[in-house]
């Protein structure tokens, strides 16, 4: 039972960070009073994190790994407590001057209030400075690393023992691989990796080979620069029972029945 069903859509939008203006204020008002919806928000954010996978895969420089592990070693490893050290407390020597202490007490309360406000401001400022400092330090390390690499590169080029070798394309390429998600009532998703790029006038064609009857065209596709290709929800006769899926190389535009070489094949288990 859930009386907050009407907020579900807004919660996903809020989790994505797109709500603003009155929409945002209204939902934040509700969230502040509803722990069930706060839980939904956290779950929604966790799932939305998956969208990060849409970013094209690239690799960082190996130097970053070294820097991270060096920093870990330099700090002696292990975590750093998040709580700041407790402030030192000083005892005040009490005297018999009660009215003076009362006045001092009032002043201290006022000062403490002001300090609490100022402390928050200073904490924010400190975070900003820490960030700026870490960015400067990182820039400096980067420069040192670039210089060191330039020197190292020069040494390789000029050292007498250095050999020169010309490299040709290797015979071994990453193996092509494909994956089909097929549901006779709902449709088909297909993706492939490490396929070679085709000559002009050629295309890849996906085939659904049913338990009985001729192969059915399940769409043509081309690959991107790194050999990835995909077919999303191609038009297919409904309710076909698939036995095998295969990919062939065909003339541009595709053909009604497979003619070219098979590059991928897989049986329904």
């Amino acid at each position: 039972m859930n009386e907050h069903h009407q907020f579900e859509e807004e919660i996903a939008l809020y989790g994505l960070g797109v709500l603003d203006g009155a929409d945002k204020a209204e939902l934040e008002g509700h969230l502040s009073a509803c722990s069930a919806c706060r839980d939904k928000l956290a779950a929604s954010r966790g799932t939305l994190a998956l969208l990060a996978f849409a970013a094209p895969a690239v690799k960082p420089s190996p130097i970053v790994r070294e820097r991270i592990l060096e920093a870990f070693k330099a700090r002696g490893g292990g975590p750093i407590g998040s709580a700041p050290p407790a402030p030192e407390r000083r005892g005040l020597r009490m005297a018999a001057w009660a009215p003076v202490w009362a006045a001092v007490g009032l002043l201290l309360v006022a000062a403490a209030t002001w300090l609490a406000v100022d402390n928050r401001r200073l904490s924010r400022r400190l975070s900003d400075l820490e960030l700026a400092h870490s960015q400067l330090a990182a820039a400096s390390r980067e420069l040192e690393a670039v210089n060191a690499r330039a020197r190292a590169a020069l040494e390789v080029l000029t050292a007498p023992q250095t050999v020169q070798v010309d490299l040709s394309p290797a015979a071994v390429h990453p193996e092509p691989h494909g994956k089909v998600f097929y549901n006779p009532g709902k449709g088909l998703l297909f993706y492939a990796t490490h396929l070679r790029s085709l000559a002009p006038g050629q295309t890849y064609e996906l085939w659904l080979i049913p338990a009985q009857g001729a192969p059915v065209d399940a769409g043509i596709f081309n690959t991107d620069s790194i050999g990835n290709g995909q077919v999303i929800l191609p038009p297919l006769p409904s309710g076909l029972t698939a036995k095998v899926f295969a990919v062939t190389i065909e003339p541009q535009g595709g053909v009604p029945a497979p003619t070219g070489p098979k590059v991928l094949i897989g049986s329904v288990s």
Binding site: A42, A43, L51, F53, A55, R67, Q135
Partner: protein
């Protein structure tokens, strides 16, 4: 060594096992986690920021955070991979928009999304293919709106301004896109 009562018998090299080893100061555990997720975090940062130097700084910063906060990590409240992805996205957007960190602490602290089974490279490749396929299946305008929201951190009004579409249209597109993705990923 048998696990103590009440403790899950995790593999030593599972994310959770590695975090415990980092708490104990084990450098090799940090190296394994970096090899497992460093590329993913960097890919997100590079996509958001465009600049490899800036993306590497974000990557370095996030792994510093990881070991600094390792003792506070609670696997019952969210998977490490979700935390890293959220941090990668938020830190990069904050940096791209020249903001001081705004969102990640509370986001990460309150994160308890699905436990992502993406510890192997093959599983990460498969997840990437599934997410890309799901986004490719969206109509172009919806996909653009989602990408502006997720990778540039724009709000609905900012997206409307960027694309020149009415705000109501943008809202509808985002709702429709999330509804489609919800059926795939149960958002």
């Amino acid at each position: 060594m048998a696990p103590t009562p009440g403790q899950r018998p995790d593999r030593r090299d599972s994310d959770e096992g590695l975090i415990r080893r980092i708490v104990d100061g084990d450098e090799s555990a940090l190296g394994i986690l970096y090899d497992r997720y460093g590329g993913l975090v960097y890919s997100v940062a590079k996509h958001v920021l465009g600049d490899s130097g800036a993306a590497e700084e974000v990557l370095q910063d996030i792994f510093h955070q990881l070991w600094r906060r390792s003792a506070n990590f609670d696997s019952a409240r969210g998977s490490l991979s979700s935390w890293l992805l959220v941090m990668a996205r938020n830190r990069s957007i904050d940096r791209a928009r020249r903001r001081t960190p705004q969102l990640e602490d509370q986001d990460a602290a309150s994160l308890h999304g699905p436990s992502l089974d993406i510890e192997s490279e093959a599983a990460q490749n498969e997840m990437a293919a599934r997410v890309r396929a799901a986004l490719q299946a969206l109509p172009e305008a919806q996909r653009v709106a989602m990408e502006l929201a997720y990778f540039e951190g724009l709000t609905q009004s900012e997206i409307a301004k960027r694309t020149g579409d009415p705000l109501g249209t943008v809202k509808t597109r985002l709702r429709s896109a999330l509804a489609s993705l919800r059926t795939v990923f149960r958002i």
